[in-house]
Symmetry: C2
């Protein structure tokens, strides 16, 4: 992994750095602050938002309107003031402008004035660069290896082919939500069938030139506010408990249903569909139809949402990673470590708990005591790494706090089911009979058994490492007649681990789950 370690490790330990990324989109403008530090870890720590609609009217005139430019200037003044107030140095402020400003005949003049008046340096991204940062965001916050990244904004839509995590060919079309709404979906009432058909034809015509789309496999990752809103709406329709849209897959069927629901409503009421933000209601139908057409044309299994977008891409490529090769080697591992570091977990301890958990897991599988579900070992590892994050809140009930913190985190690379399971394994790492409860709405049929197994193994590992001193260097479980022997290798004094396992290791739970008695040798 190509962390820009020189920059990060050059800091004093404990000091964090901040950068601001400002995204002057065709619909909304947003300033976000990322705080990051050695570890590495990073986190979005502040955000300003304004629906500037700089691209309003552009479709008909080819120019930014005076009214839109006035709103833009005012907003930039506020953003510039915010950076000064928060002592974010100009060199740490990355302002990027996309389609509307790029395409407008008077875009350059607007930027000249804006830069003069605010002192901000503004970079106009060409379509290729815009697509690149979207790709960087997508590939570092999902497990996408091969497929397509779709980025839809107010002005344009980019598609980037991904092969073995590297970016392939890219196309950009003027199919953003504001643009399509103004050109093809005008009118306040319900959308007409003809209007929808015209949007579809426009998209299909554009896609005809994209000969690689249909041979890109089944995965399509979507970024941008429209995708996030539609994913939230899909989650409402599908009916699972809300764990955020990170990794949520909008299926073609649900998307078809959403298009129908939205089209039947007058434009002003589309923002009241659960999941859709009111400020986006009047342009969401355009995005939905464009997405629907791309999914059908490419034969994708659906659209996988990620919370990250252009701004995260700029941050990752420009600040945290090397722009020439901006790939986090293991997205899931990085997400888990990022969270553990943010909550100041004792990394040596949690990594050792993870190691002992994996040793016991592997040895149980070897003796044939159970057949793990796909991905089960990695979920156990993640839960072990994160079991103590709740200690940042309080020692009492820290298992419940860990669940809350994991459910509140995006944990990129994991989907809602996986986040639910990781959260719930940590919830039961100390005591209690594991239950999925309402989380069963996002998990699979056999996941309660997975939860049971992982919680019991993690509980044992935690008590073997009760002194946080790695005094148990290795732990294996082997069948022995009706029982299972716990074999320990000592790296130090075993008084405390033995007491802790005997006192709290919960052999009842072990027997309930694995149908064998736990014998401590």
């Amino acid at each position: 992994v190509s962390w820009r370690t020189t920059r990060i490790s050059g800091q004093q330990p404990g000091t964090n750095q901040q950068v601001a990324v400002v995204d002057l989109g065709s619909n909304s403008w947003r300033l976000v602050v990322f705080t990051y530090g050695a570890g590495p870890w990073w986190k979005l720590t502040d955000e300003l938002y304004e629906t500037v609609r700089i691209g309003a009217g552009l479709a008909s005139t080819g120019r930014l309107s005076d009214e839109a430019m006035r709103r833009g200037q005012e907003t930039l003044q506020v953003f510039a003031r915010f950076c000064r107030a928060n002592r974010i140095e100009p060199r740490d402020v990355h302002v990027v402008a996309t389609s509307a400003i790029r395409d407008a005949a008077n875009g350059e003049a607007f930027l000249d004035q804006a830069q003069r008046e605010t002192g901000l340096q503004i970079e106009v991204l060409d379509a290729r660069a815009e697509a690149f940062f979207g790709y960087v965001a997508a590939v570092n916050t999902t497990t996408l290896d091969d497929g397509v990244v779709l980025d839809i904004g107010g002005g344009s839509m980019q598609l980037t082919a991904v092969r073995d995590r590297r970016s392939g060919p890219t196309v950009s079309f003027p199919l953003g939500a504001v643009r399509v709404t103004e050109e093809l979906l005008a009118g306040d009432g319900p959308a007409k069938r003809k209007q929808l058909a015209r949007v579809r034809s426009r998209v299909e015509e554009s896609l005809e030139q994209v000969d690689w789309l249909a041979m890109s496999g089944s995965r399509l990752v979507g970024i941008g506010g429209a995708v996030r809103n539609l994913a939230a709406a899909a989650q409402h329709v599908d009916g699972g408990v809300d764990l955020g849209v990170q990794g949520y897959v909008i299926t073609p069927a649900t998307l078809d249903g959403l298009v129908e629901t939205l089209a039947e409503l007058p434009s002003a009421e589309r923002g009241s569909v659960p999941g859709i933000k009111p400020g986006r209601g009047d342009i969401i139908l355009a995005s939905a139809v464009v997405l629907q057409t791309v999914v059908a044309a490419g034969g994708f299994d659906g659209i996988e949402a990620t919370e990250a977008g252009l701004r995260e891409g700029v941050f990752l490529a420009r600040t945290l990673l090397a722009e020439s090769d901006p790939l986090i080697a293991d997205v899931r591992a990085a997400a888990v470590r990022n969270l553990a570091i943010q909550y100041e977990s004792d990394l040596v301890h949690v990594e050792h708990v993870a190691l002992l958990s994996e040793q016991m897991f592997d040895s149980l599988v070897s003796c044939g005591l159970f057949l793990p579900m796909p991905g089960e070992r990695e979920l156990l590892w993640a839960a072990a790494m994160l079991h103590d994050v709740g200690m940042a809140i309080s020692y009492d009930d820290h298992h419940k706090h860990s669940r809350y913190l994991i459910e509140s985190a995006e944990l990129p690379g994991f989907d809602p089911r996986e986040r639910a399971l990781i959260a719930q394994i940590t919830r039961y790492h100390r005591k209690g009979v594991p239950k999925l409860g309402e989380l069963a709405t996002v998990t699979h049929a056999d996941d309660e058994a997975l939860l049971d197994r992982c919680a019991v193994i993690l509980r044992l590992a935690e008590h073997l490492e009760r002194g946080r001193d790695q005094s148990v260097s290795e732990a294996r479980l082997h069948t022995n007649g009706d029982g299972v022997d716990l074999h320990l290798k000592a790296g130090g004094d075993l008084t405390l681990p033995r007491w802790s396992v005997e006192r709290y290791g919960d052999d009842e739970a072990f027997e309930r789950v694995f149908h064998r008695r736990l014998l401590i040798d």
Copy 2:
């Protein structure tokens, strides 16, 4: 306030210290770790627990039994090992023994052996010292000025008079839960009326010599596990939402009901009463009857529970405060600051938000726009100080996270109603129409109006301080015809605060709550 600042400020910033306090009680033994640092802040960060029952059998023989001593030695070995594993230096381990070991004929011999085998230094507290540390815990985690502190353990019960927060006369009686159970409440079945009467007489006889009890006012603060368990049980009976027992008052009527419920059950089933821990079930009735008798004899309004006890008292007196004058000047302020520091809030920012909130609150009261409820201004202050704690989790939804963190904190000095209100004010400091929801079960009739007012004021203050740079140095609200003018004094550039208040300050909410339009001058 007499912080031992020399010791604390001698540290490097960012480095925290740990001490372990071990309490060898007559019923349970517990090791707790406190982590503390400059600020000052402190927090319980680890805990080991064993029901040693070192005092079992003492009532009849006057000696610690061989079996109890064996359990004790084993447990001390584990505790000693834990301290070594966690690199807590011997000078930072405070082990104290109370009634059972103090009173047993062979207590000293037991300790000699224990010290030899474990290397731990054990201090036997006399009844006066035991009462003192209980007093220190109580007076620094409640707002008790005048009244009585009651500390009931397994072996003894201490009462300490408190006048103007200083400790007055102290008495100690062998009325601990294990002792009373063994002597007066033997038997597995439901308790007999005669047995209960005998406990009451024994307590009343003891109290006859306490001539200051009845003239100590109406407040009785209780510490120890029995009080916490009974407070949790009382909360179940009283039916409010569970926000922890810190500051919860067990009323005499609820206590009477609990005694009846417990007495009717066989001893083995008392641990299944909601709120009572199973391991304490067989001795809880004794504590309940003793408390009931003390409340009646002193004419107290009830028993106010605190989570702190002997261990916190030892920590506060020996480590954080000066033992000669171990008083935190303002318990509530210290609790609020402790939490804000733990979650790394920007103190300059939150203190300024608190100041602006108070200025707007005071000016609204001055123009007669509302009459505050008692204590309302302090709740607003606390919410302002804590509004950002949720940022430690994530920027998105940080208002919801702040609520969760405040509800999860003990916040000593505040009762459950006050904690609920502080939490809920922060919950609505950004948007939404404030609602109490299920919290209404612990609040007063007019508290939704209080919440409404404070949330709107805090929202304004937060947006005036959006740049976290104190650019608004003063904010006042004055009636002007049908409206209310917002007068600002500038300490810096007002671009950002004005934009933020106009964009997000929510004048609709202001008008809904104060029935006047908000006018920004």
